[in-house]
């Protein structure tokens, strides 16, 4: 058998195999063409790889992450608001909000109806919201856990929950004006919630995760940004004192058919606000149909002419400057005095009164006679020093300045009326703080709404001796023969001053009244200042001594007892110990 050999001819060719069957005379350009074609294809692939891996890497990475990496928000909780003993006044709880992914949502008519029923919305509204939605839509925020479980039991595709925080206010109406409230997005709107918004607000975090096809988180990507919860705020408020004060105020407002009322309790050692209550009030959790009258924190935002509660300051100034002593006699007969054509009169003519009795009987004429001996500048300085006409430095929104005109513009009649509290204005809170001058032996102390354990440093306004003398006068005013014997508290000596101011509407005074009582207790070594205001009592009784003083009495008694202050006056004990039953002897 002849061995076949590769064919070689003159034309240059390539042998692809030794088999003669495969031997072909291929022109060299064809093979080169194929090599170039394959090479070009490889180059194309290389170019594409460069584009994907280097040039457009960010785009492709983002597209990849979009498909399997998810960003999960980590919600921070808003800080709590606590009372001075750590009891919660406001806290956030995570509640389910029901969402629907419109793209994947699937439910038949009966299921849709059931869903609408559970979410307390008309079926038509549900249909409309689903029809207009393009992505995820929230159907109902802050539903009850039980409701969400029922929704979950419907097993509807595309229905999911997110946890959102909702604010709870366990003390309800009693502390509403202090604590305030937030809107549905957890932003403070009133009170401490608004005043401490920055501190209470937390910082949300987030994490990047990989989800599998079942939606389960299977991997964390990158570093997790942890949520930072808001800071808790501990207030100086004692929720027991707050509740008691609010309750007594509410009862007094109802009893006297009044329009509104306020009460402020201050600890005179630390300057802390123990209670600040207003009535009418509101439940911070139920804010539908609220009126402005309910929302107003009257103790801080409303200013009034303080009336006779200003008299002790005029007398203190006269005592401090040596113009009078407590026993100096002043002729108040015939019960009226005329200054530049205007007549000022007393409710009853009193005759000759000592300075102490001027306060005890609340004589306008006696006070005016003292005030007219004092230059206007000195009176203005005194009023300015006790904080009138200045915004109280307290971390609370809405505190007002009040009105105290510059002394240069005072006419003599204005100086006279200002001495007994007309022609200037202050809030109940300002007045309560001003009375710390008497309680703290002549020092005005800064007040705070946050808990403070150390005693507050004060600013001296009058001497300790003058303060003690005025305290004694305040004790007389709140005792038998004074204007407010109903301010007496069992076991504790009290001192204070009534105020009954006619309300001004426009340029004239009306027959509507505002009843005040501001006082301190115990008189020997005061621990608290309590200020009470009742607006427009309408059942015939309108004097501060009859309307506001009983509230003062009850609040003082309870507050001092809760503060473990020992009684400073003798009380007839009503405790009768039952003799213990003797054990029967055995025979």
């Amino acid at each position: 058998m002849k061995k076949s050999r590769p064919v070689h001819n003159t034309v240059r060719s390539v042998n692809y195999a030794t088999s003669p069957l495969l031997a072909s005379k291929t022109p060299p350009w064809r093979s080169r063409f194929v090599v170039v074609l394959v090479g070009a294809a490889f180059l194309l692939l290389l170019g594409r790889a460069v584009q994907v891996q280097i040039v457009s890497t960010d785009f492709y990475r983002a597209q990849g992450e979009k498909r399997f990496v998810h960003k999960l928000p980590l919600h921070a909780s808003r800080g709590r608001i606590l009372d001075r003993n750590g009891l919660v006044l406001a806290t956030s709880v995570a509640m389910p909000s029901v969402q629907v992914d419109a793209k994947t949502f699937a439910a038949d008519t009966a299921q849709r109806k059931a869903l609408a029923g559970l979410l307390a919305m008309p079926a038509a509204e549900l249909e409309q919201r689903l029809a207009t939605a393009t992505g995820t839509v929230t159907l109902r925020r802050h539903v009850q856990e039980a409701t969400w479980q029922e929704v979950k039991a419907l097993r509807l595709r595309g229905v999911q929950e997110v946890r959102e925080y909702q604010r709870r206010y366990p003390d309800g109406e009693a502390a509403a004006h202090v604590v305030g409230f937030t809107d549905i997005d957890d932003r403070g709107q009133e009170g401490i919630e608004l005043g401490f918004q920055t501190q209470l607000l937390g910082r949300n975090g987030q994490r990047m995760v990989v989800r599998d096809r079942l939606g389960r988180v299977v991997e964390d990507i990158g570093d997790q940004a942890d949520p930072v919860d808001g800071r808790d705020i501990t207030l100086s408020i004692d929720s027991k004192v707050q509740f008691f004060a609010w309750q007594r105020l509410r009862d007094a407002v109802h009893e006297h058919g009044a329009r509104a009322g306020s009460v402020v309790v201050l600890d005179v050692q630390t300057g802390e606000v123990l209670a600040l209550a207003n009535y009418p009030s509101f439940d911070p959790a139920q804010r539908r149909n609220l009126s402005g009258a309910q929302l107003r924190n009257r103790a801080l935002t409303d200013i009034f002419e303080p009336g006779s509660t200003m008299k002790p300051f005029t007398v203190a100034l006269a005592l401090e400057t040596g113009r009078v002593t407590p026993s100096t006699l002043i002729q108040t007969a015939p019960g009226r005095i005329t200054i530049t054509g205007s007549t000022i009169s007393d409710a009853h003519p009193h005759g000759v009164l000592s300075v102490a009795e001027v306060i005890q009987k609340s004589s306008n004429v006696g006070t005016v006679k003292m005030a007219m001996q004092i230059p206007a500048r000195e009176m203005w300085e005194m009023y300015a020093q006790i904080g009138l006409g200045q915004k109280p430095r307290i971390d609370f929104p809405g505190a007002v300045t009040g009105r105290l005109r510059p002394y240069k513009s005072w006419r003599p009649i204005e100086q006279a009326t200002m001495s007994y509290g007309y022609g200037l204005s202050a809030s109940l809170f300002q007045l309560a703080r001003a009375y710390t001058v008497f309680a703290r032996d002549g020092e005005l102390i800064p007040v705070t709404i946050q808990r403070q354990d150390s005693p507050a440093g004060g600013q001296r306004v009058i001497s300790a001796k003058t303060a003690q003398q005025v305290r004694e006068m305040l004790r007389l005013a709140a005792g038998p023969g004074g204007t407010a014997p109903q301010a007496q508290a069992i076991g504790y000596s009290v001192g204070g001053k009534t105020g009954t101011a006619r309300k001004q509407e426009g340029r004239s005074y009306t027959n509507k009244y505002r009843a005040w009582f501001v006082g301190l207790a115990p008189v020997g070594q005061p621990r608290i200042v309590v200020a009470v205001m009742v607006d427009e009592p309408s059942k015939g009784v309108y004097y501060g001594g009859a309307v506001a003083a009983p509230v003062f009495s009850q609040v003082v008694q309870q507050t001092l007892r809760m503060m473990n202050v020992a009684p400073d006056i003798d009380v007839k004990a009503q405790i009768s110990a039952k003799p213990a039953m003797a054990e029967q002897e055995s025979f």
Binding site: F243, G491, Q558, R561, V571
Partner: protein, 94 residues
């Protein structure tokens, strides 16, 4: 030489399979951990909610009402209070 290559190939295949299995196991365990964390968060939220509700059920208003109406109690005054002075404690306070 061939034997070594086969051994290396088997080792390579084995370690690849192990890597896949470990990745799967790790994701499964992570998923369980994440679910447990969710349950923990839910229980924490529930604890807070119940705490708030417990306090809402024991407000001063309700306690005072129950004490006054059901238990016929009245507000204590110094007349029905025995004050006990502790000189040691007051000395320490000073």
């Amino acid at each position: 030489m061939l034997k070594l290559n086969v051994l290396l190939l088997i080792a390579l295949l084995g370690s690849s399979l192990l890597a896949v299995k470990n990745a799967y196991e790790s994701r499964r365990v992570f998923s369980e951990l994440d679910r447990a964390r969710q349950v923990q968060a839910q229980l924490d939220a529930e604890f807070k909610l119940l705490g708030a509700e417990r306090q809402a059920q024991g407000t001063h208003l309700l306690v005072e009402k129950a004490a006054r109406e059901k238990l016929k109690m009245r507000t204590a005054s110094p007349a029905v209070t025995t004050y006990v002075f502790d000189p040691a404690a007051s000395g320490a306070a000073r």
